[in-house]
């Protein structure tokens, strides 16, 4: 059995998406900037996709610019909006691309406030309000957290930002397919999304920029994407992104419910069958996210034991990171080093079935027990 439970890392390309993309490799290969028929055909395709993506977040098509990935979108906002002397507010549990880009900006003279989160990973909106100063230009707080699945009160943060005339950016990569988003109602000025997290292809992301806001581009050149992002468009990828967005919108009513039911079944089964295990993160969370800590064992070892059984998961353990530090998200919610060491994330998706979860519930307790047998801390 092969059970992929790492949908927060990436998703397979949906068959409908692949079908839509197929003809844009070798048949309709025009450059959207060309005035001839093949060029205009490609142009039409990217504009159709733009409308599809815009619809998912209730934006206007011209407010969407396509990029190469969410990391590029996030970098574009932070580096394109902030100048030395400006103040930026982020949370402590942002994706590394926000954390690292803000460190870079800090060196350039941008002032950064990193808001703490509670043990469930929530930012306190009062903290946002209190952190805003006269030089605050931008607040960037992610929508759904990729590690522990906390969904931030972005509409409330957006409202505060509007009131105080500060720009608001949110990285919605994890939430797009699970939570209805309305950029107008939620007071969002910038929103980051990515195709490969929603059953589209890798190598394409987008950035919603509210009409009228000027952002200095990260990539200068031929002026594609209304001048916000130069470089010939990844037409095939963009077409796939459009179709993936359309599918998401269709499934928004049913899929989150189906997945959260399976996820709850997984959580219940694990907490019941594995002693000294606990759920990390909030009770109310992204429908596909489950994050556990298993005492006395290390996450990378567990991940690879599960891998042997054909179960593919993820961990925030120090051993699995390049820095040999535990996931900053886990430390920010107050986990001890020891518990962060035994972290395991499983994220469900469209192809996850109850049979698969049953298999996990059968195999995982043995894998944990196996490792505990050789751990010095086993009681």
């Amino acid at each position: 059995m092969k059970i992929y439970l790492d949908y927060a890392a990436t998703t397979p390309v949906a068959p409908e998406v692949r079908e839509e993309m197929k003809s844009y490799f070798s048949q309709k290969y025009g450059n959207p900037s060309s005035l001839h028929t093949p060029g205009q055909e490609a142009k039409e395709a990217t504009e159709k996709a733009r409308a599809q993506v815009a619809k998912l977040i209730n934006a206007e098509p011209e407010e969407i610019i396509f990029t190469s990935c969410a990391t590029e979108s996030n970098n574009t906002v932070l580096k394109g909006v902030l100048k030395p002397g400006d103040h930026l507010i982020i949370s402590q549990i942002e994706h590394p691309c926000i954390i690292e880009a803000s460190k870079y900006l800090e060196k350039q003279g941008v002032e950064i406030t990193r808001l703490p989160v509670n043990e469930e990973g929530f930012v306190n909106t009062k903290d946002v309000e209190n952190a805003i100063k006269s030089n605050t230009k931008l607040v960037s707080v992610m929508h759904g957290n990729n590690i522990i699945g906390t969904v931030q009160p972005i509409a409330e943060i957006g409202r505060i930002c509007k009131e105080r005339e500060v720009l608001y950016h949110t990285d919605a990569v994890q939430t797009l397919q699970y939570t209805p988003i309305d950029v107008h109602k939620m007071g969002i000025d910038f929103l980051t999304a990515s195709a490969h997290k929603i059953y589209g292809p890798k190598g394409v992301g987008c950035l919603y920029i509210r009409k009228g806001i000027r952002v200095e581009p990260l990539v200068h050149g031929g002026g594609q994407e209304s001048g916000f992002r130069s470089g010939t468009e990844n037409v095939t990828g963009i077409v796939g992104f459009g179709k993936a967005a359309e599918l998401c919108l269709k499934k928004l009513k049913t899929e989150p419910k189906r997945i959260s039911k399976l996820r709850d079944y997984l959580i219940e089964g694990i907490l019941k069958n594995v002693p000294d295990s606990s759920l990390t993160g909030p009770k109310e969370r992204l429908p596909h996210n489950a994050h556990f800590t298993f005492k006395f064992i290390e996450g990378e070892a567990l991940l690879l034991r599960l891998n042997e059984k054909g179960i593919y998961a993820s961990t925030g353990s120090a051993c699995s990171s390049k820095s040999l530090e535990p996931s900053p998200v886990l430390l920010a919610i107050g986990l001890k080093h020891m518990d962060a060491h035994g972290s395991l994330r499983m994220t469900l998706g469209r192809d996850t079935t109850k049979e698969q979860i049953d298999y996990v519930l059968k195999e995982l307790p043995n894998c944990v027990e196996d490792l505990r047998k050789i751990s010095p801390f086993r009681r």
Binding site: A301, L324, K373, F377, R378
Partner: protein, 154 residues
Amino acid sequence: MYNKKVMERFKNPKNLKEMKEPDAIGKIGNIHCGDVMWCFIKIEENKKGERIIKDISIKTFGCVAAMSTSDVLCDLVRGKSIKESLNIKDNDIIMELGELPVRKIHCSLLAVDALGEAIYNYLLKSGLPIPSSLKQKHERIKNNLEIINKRQNY
């Protein structure tokens, strides 16, 4: 990320277990990554009067690399004299495994230190002379372990 030899050790470790009535135990922790190892040894005197590591096992709270290096170390020192065992360096373990990812090299050091600590405890308990390098190592390890214990509350 890991080669076949490392994965084979990880999948089927022979030496990662508790030992009944060991002659000495060495406990060690890595303050950076949080890994912890306990090394158990049984010592015997051979006909020449040398003290031999008759048996060794390690318990590991750590990653794949930490487990593999622990398992290899046990095979490398079993049957060797204490003196020979103390000469084993982390590079000997890496050579045995073929390779380790660069950032995981510290893990091999941990197993070597756990053994050193077990030998230190054995020599101390038996009232035998302790090499000064081993004494220095022990001081460093003791400090690290205190930091980890405080942090982990176990």
